[in-house]
Amino acid sequence: MKKIIIILGVTLLLLILFKTVESDFPEYNPNRSYVDLEEEILEAFILAKDSATIELPEGHFLFSQALSIDGKKHITIKGKGMDKTILSFKGQTKGAEGVLVTNCTNFTIENLSIEDAAGDNLKISESEDVTIRNIRSAWTGGVSTQNGAYGIYPVLTTNLLIEGCEAIGASDAGIYVGQSSNVVIRNNKAFYNVAGVESENSSAVEIYNNEIYENTGGLLIFNLPKLTVYGKNVKAYNNRIYNNNLKNFSVKGSIVSGVPKGTGVIIMATQEVDFHNNTVKDHATSNLSIVSYLVFAADEDPEAQLDQSIQDRGIRAVESDYESDTEYNAYPGKISINNNTFDNKFWFPTFSNEYGWLMLFKNKMKIPDIAYDGILPEGASLQDSEHKICIGDNGVFNFVFMDAANEFKYFSNEVTPYLCSLN
């Protein structure tokens, strides 16, 4: 009898342990009772003539395949609200996307939810004058690597507005704008994603009034090599970016797999970024980082040793990669960080990645509010006009110059060289 009690006790303990290990991940479990109106809705998408409005009724509609629209003008797709009209692609057998829009002009989609696509929930490619309004993109259940990559994914698109949307559970980025120009991303929410909101290789982008929380990384402003266009001129303001400490659940090898959990904002290899009047707080790795492509790609393997991770493998591999792309600028510059509020509920940096360890040893155990890797191309010098980083009045904050190019030799908290303004 005693034995049984002990054994049951051990079982319980193991179960509790198991639960605490396994239940890191949050869940999104809305009530759904699906109906099948697939043929009718699909037919409407396919046969819609220019200037048509497709009004979708209330209901939880289940699809076995992607809904696609190609080469049309002035199409509007409207639901009855993101809690009422649900387009679910759970278990889809054909196509990777949920809703796929290609080569359209003046396209609007609003007031509905798109859920559980095998790949991306809403992908809009090579289109112009696009509005995405009050759309909820979600993967239901516990967040998982099995979830699709991008929630709301406009790419190669010009004149784009994303507003009032919610992005939940993407295994890459919740709201992801790629290779686009003239973009407004406002009044959205992103949570339970690997990256909350990401602007990649896009220009003339304004990101404001968004709430970005409980992702692995909050806001990413990225420029990646070997793509058709490169981005610059990104403004981000009045955003609330907090508590992005979710364990990274992306696919190995993806660029976001290198985003350490506990990251508020990363500005990577992008020129002309104006980041002001935001609140960034409660991140276990770093509130805001300004980095080159080199240091970021070097972080691919979070288990790697600190000393070799940046110098040995990473940089070499990355160098050969970006140098063959003569159009690409791998370094950030003309960055302004002004009037933001930084705060942290964490007392110690996370030990789950090498940044945390670095801060533990080099930054008196503080988590940086603004970290700059300080890696420059050959022939450039810190704070020259092309690589200027200007940090204005941001209240009380911890600044870190990492000097990652020299094995952190001149690691410093001295912010004075960066007190400037771009104009």
Partner: protein
Amino acid sequence: MKNYWVLPVILIFSACLACKDQGNKNIAPKAKKITSFKPLIQKELSEKEKLSEYEFFKLPLANLEPTGRVLLYDLNTPLFSNYAFKKRFVYLPDSTKISYKNKGVMDFENGSVLIKNFYYPKDFRKPDQEKIIIETRLLIKENDLWKPLNYVWNTEQTDATLNYVGKEEQIHWTDNTGKKRAVSYTVPNLNQCKNCHLNGKKITPIGPTAAQWNKTYALALTDKNQLDYFNEKGILEKVVEPALRPKMPVWNDALLPVDHRAKAYLDANCAHCHNVEGSAKNSGLYLSYTQQDSRKRGVFKPPVAAGKGSGDLVYDIVPGHPEESILIYRMKSNDPSIRMPEIGRSVTHKEGLDLLQEYITTLAQSN
């Protein structure tokens, strides 16, 4: 009594199973079929409702016996479509001709129609006996543009009806080894036609190139070349002399070198998207038969935006290591978010996969 330790193990194990179960996102839930109270859009259609209205085939239609200006043609290396057989025809309006081109799709005049029938013989060892025709796809040239239309055959096999939204059918057959096979066959919807047939922003045919047509004609009594046959029939003009014609290798002709066959296979199955103008242009992976750059062909090329399609592998092709090559991983997979080609296939093409594995294995030896 000593085996009490089993209990916690089982409990933990079942807890694991429970959480795994919850994590499986690939199972479609049930959905009740409904109809909408009012139409979602206004339809105004002018296309022919039935295949028989075109009069491409004599009655009974299912014999696929062509009428006057309808000609059978064949390709060296076709696209794999779930083991379906294909019978291809071209319809040419009176006094129109096809213009030969050495490179790319040959020139067709307005009014021309390419007709492709998809069918399964009940027994692949007797391909000319009982069969089931599933769909007939048309590419119609109108106002210098190609328009796709699709007709799905009825169960009685008497006619086919215009279909825009696609369809799923369960198909059964006996394969060449006598084994019973089954597949869930997908008739594509109208937008999916573009997935393969879009070149730039225009829809184009894929098959009718000189290289694909350069083969012995299927029906002629002589060993005549298909191009010569059409030329002599007076429907193909500007044909160049045999020595100057390109030729696509036959992918399963064991007498040909493996790399030629593999490249032909990749051309037919991948290059319609994986070319500089195709819908996969952003991938940087270009698989046309004529592509010479080995990195663009995938050798040690990292994926651009494969997402989970990369299967945690680093390169599209690792010479000598098919098991480490993303290309093989995606050819093997039947998961819609991983598999390649993305559409038109729901079972693995074992014979094609074998060829590509052999190709990648031998790539190492040639380096």
